[in-house]
């Protein structure tokens, strides 16, 4: 691995960490419930992207299954919380 790719991957990880911190700030400080749900949605997408970068960094394809699962369960969680905010119950 040349220094170009090494430092590019480090920079990408740093940027994604900053993105996750921004989402975490909105998750903790969001004035309403829908703000927090949106921040959680953004947080898991950023975490999934970070997992893709880690997969390149360690040259291992195990991370993609983990990223797939994160995307799957994150979608289920965000959608059910949003449905709960809309109707007051998840399954009617």
């Amino acid at each position: 691995m040349t220094p170009v790719l090494f430092w590019a991957l480090k920079a990408a990880l740093f940027l994604l960490a900053v993105a996750m911190l921004c989402a975490l700030f909105r998750l903790l400080a969001g004035p309403s419930a829908q703000d927090r749900v949106m921040a959680l949605d953004c947080l898991y997408i950023n975490g999934m992207l970070m997992m893709l970068v880690l997969g390149i960094n360690y040259a291992s394809s195990v991370y993609f299954e983990a990223a797939m699962l994160v995307a799957l369960f994150g979608f289920v969680g965000s959608t059910s919380i949003a449905k709960f905010l809309l109707r007051g119950e998840v399954i009617e």
Partner: protein, 116 residues
């Protein structure tokens, strides 16, 4: 770390798209902090879910295809799933936010198309 050295062009493609995707995700998340109201804020994180995810997928495909000498398409599954599901979550959240703001009597919500 695998010892197989990649050709320089593959490493440059991977590096450029990885940094680009991460930068788009960071810009989108920073908009989440910076925008003043919920109805403006909901636009920002879609940048990371679309352009960010696609750029990182291109980087992943470039790296593992060159490294493994065969086309690596697992990562496309992830980004296709994100493309299908991110709008659903956003629509549900938007409806919930409109409903809750109207319940609270807030008149500053965006108007619905039927009411005029």
């Amino acid at each position: 770390m695998s010892a197989t050295a990649l050709p320089l062009w593959a490493e440059i493609i991977t590096a450029v798209f990885a940094v680009l995707g991460a930068a788009f995700a960071a810009i989108g998340s920073f908009g989440l902090v910076r925008m003043p109201t919920f109805f403006r804020r909901i636009h920002a994180p879609t940048l990371g879910a679309t352009v960010g995810a696609w750029c990182l997928t291109v980087a992943t495909i470039a790296y593992f295809s060159v490294q493994g000498f065969s086309l690596f398409l697992h990562a496309v599954l992830i980004v296709l799933f994100i493309v299908l599901t991110a709008p659903i979550t956003t629509i549900f959240l938007m409806r919930a936010a409109l409903f809750r703001e109207r319940q609270k009597g807030n008149t500053k919500v965006p108007p619905s198309s039927e009411s005029r």
